[in-house]
């Protein structure tokens, strides 16, 4: 059994009158990959975004219930959201590197959080790029533009940027859906590597990706958590008929 990285209890998210997430309780194990699957509009991305309070910026969005990391509720007014997002990194669907050099993309976060020493920054840049298997590809052009990288490289750069501030949790919102199959395979390999150090939650439209990369899978439907179990169980013998129908492509 793995330790708990964090958990939600009766988490609901509203957009105005509409309830997008309905009292969902999930426990996320430490250093494992949890995949969220479900048809468009099922609430999986909303749920993911609420885990580092990205929904704060959406007008009319309201959260009820608990999201607890190390005993503390992240929605407590005393929470420092900047610190929270340092601890819980986010990788988006489309690679979104800053219009800066490769080096500066990585150094930005640590510098923002107070690392000034050049040697320290160099080390962080190198180790972050090594962890994302990008170092050998870019070490000779660290000060070249990040935008000159391929899409797959840009996405790995964004992951390197997330881990440069030493988070414990990584949230990924369809991190490979804009990439070609080879780049996708690299991202998936990377996820398998990263889970040694991080707890990962990934939203994916590609069920086979969920089956390949995750330890546990959560299936959402219209804001409800329908089933949450070991991925192997979910894809060979799900308990719920709706899960079976969805992953077998009968609807969705």
């Amino acid at each position: 059994m793995s330790d708990t990285a964090f958990y939600t209890k009766d988490l609901s998210v509203f957009y105005g009158e509409k309830q997008a997430i309905k009292k969902v309780s999930i426990t996320f194990p430490e250093r494992q990959v949890v995949a969220f699957i479900g048809p468009s509009g099922c609430g999986k991305s909303t749920f993911l975004r609420s885990l580092n309070r990205m929904n704060d910026v959406i007008p009319g969005a309201r959260v009820e219930g608990e999201i607890r990391i190390g005993g503390r509720d992240i929605n407590d007014p005393s929470t420092d959201v900047v610190r929270l997002r340092q601890k819980i990194g986010m990788v988006w669907q489309k690679p979104n590197p800053f219009h800066k050099s490769i080096y500066e993309n990585i150094a930005f976060g640590p510098r923002y959080h107070g690392v000034k020493d050049k040697r320290n920054l160099d080390e962080i840049v190198e180790s972050s790029l090594r962890k994302t298997a990008l170092w050998d590809e870019v070490k000779d052009r660290l000060h070249g533009s990040a935008l000159a990288l391929s899409g797959g490289q840009q996405q790995r750069l964004c992951i390197a940027r997330s881990i440069a501030v030493q988070p414990s949790i990584l949230l990924m919102d369809e991190p490979a859906s804009a990439l070609d199959p080879v780049s996708t395979a690299k991202i998936e390999e990377l996820i398998a590597e990263l889970k040694r150090d991080y707890s990962i939650v990934i939203v994916t439209h590609n069920m086979y990706q969920a089956a390949r990369v995750s330890d546990k899978t959560a299936f959402f439907l219209m804001g409800d958590l329908i089933e949450y179990d070991e991925t192997q169980k979910m894809f060979t013998n799900p308990s719920n008929r709706a899960t079976d129908d969805y992953i077998s492509g009968r609807f969705g």
Partner: protein, 218 residues
């Protein structure tokens, strides 16, 4: 999503092939037993010739299953249906081979008189043919109750097999000249009993298909 035609067609094809295999195995057992009872050499040789098609269908099922897994990424019940299909095809192919063994026993007895009229052996074969038909029906209907019934029928077949062994042992004890034939008939009882075991395996595969769990029925 909801592009399942290729997968659904493939699953249907496998199901049809399994149905054909079941029908052929049932016939092979019926004909081999008739060939033995009547020492009908032509019928015995027909069973041998017909078995080729069974082997061929098993290969077709394996190929179709591999293609569906490689190209359609089946999961959950679709995946279990394919895995169960491969296992069931393998059981049916073995059942065909065992029917061939019965037919070969008939061929080895060519020109001999039977040491006794065959009564319990055909009874065993009748029960086992019923099991074959029901195992295929259980698969088609995903009928767990019917699948579990295989274990009960199998016990009955085992009991009859024991009776056949004892009768033949008594005949051998009374007349050592009957040993060769009586041994052969004992083997035949064993072949039929093995076919029943394979039918019971099919029952297990049906339970796996329906529930995701494999019971031990044998």
């Amino acid at each position: 999503m909801v592009v399942r035609k290729e997968l659904d067609d493939g699953l249907k094809q496998i199901q049809d092939w399994l149905g054909e295999m079941g029908g052929r195995v049932e016939r092979a057992l019926r004909e081999s037993m008739t060939a033995l009872t009547n020492l009908d050499m032509n019928l015995a040789r027909k069973v041998l010739a017909d078995d080729l098609r069974l082997n061929q269908i098993e290969e077709q099922i394996d190929e179709a299953a591999a293609r569906l897994i490689a190209t359609q990424q089946p999961v959950a019940k679709d995946l279990r249906r394919i895995l169960a299909g491969i296992t069931i095809a393998s059981d049916l192919e073995r059942m065909g081979d065992l029917s061939v063994d019965v037919a070969k026993a008939a061929i080895r007895l060519e020109g001999q008189q039977l040491v006794k009229p065959l009564i319990d052996l055909p009874r065993m074969a009748d029960i086992v043919r019923g099991m074959i038909a029901e195992s295929i029906r259980a698969y088609n209907e995903e009928n767990v109750d019917l699948a579990l019934k295989m274990a009960k029928d199998d016990d009955e077949v085992d009991a009859l097999c024991g009776t056949v062994f004892r009768d033949l042992a008594a005949i051998m004890a009374g007349d050592s000249g009957t040993i060769g034939q009586a041994m052969l008939l004992s083997f035949t009882a064993r072949y039929i009993e093995r076919i029943a075991d394979h039918a019971t395996n099919i029952g297990e595969s049906v339970v796996y298909l329906a529930t995701g769990k494999r019971p031990e029925l044998n």
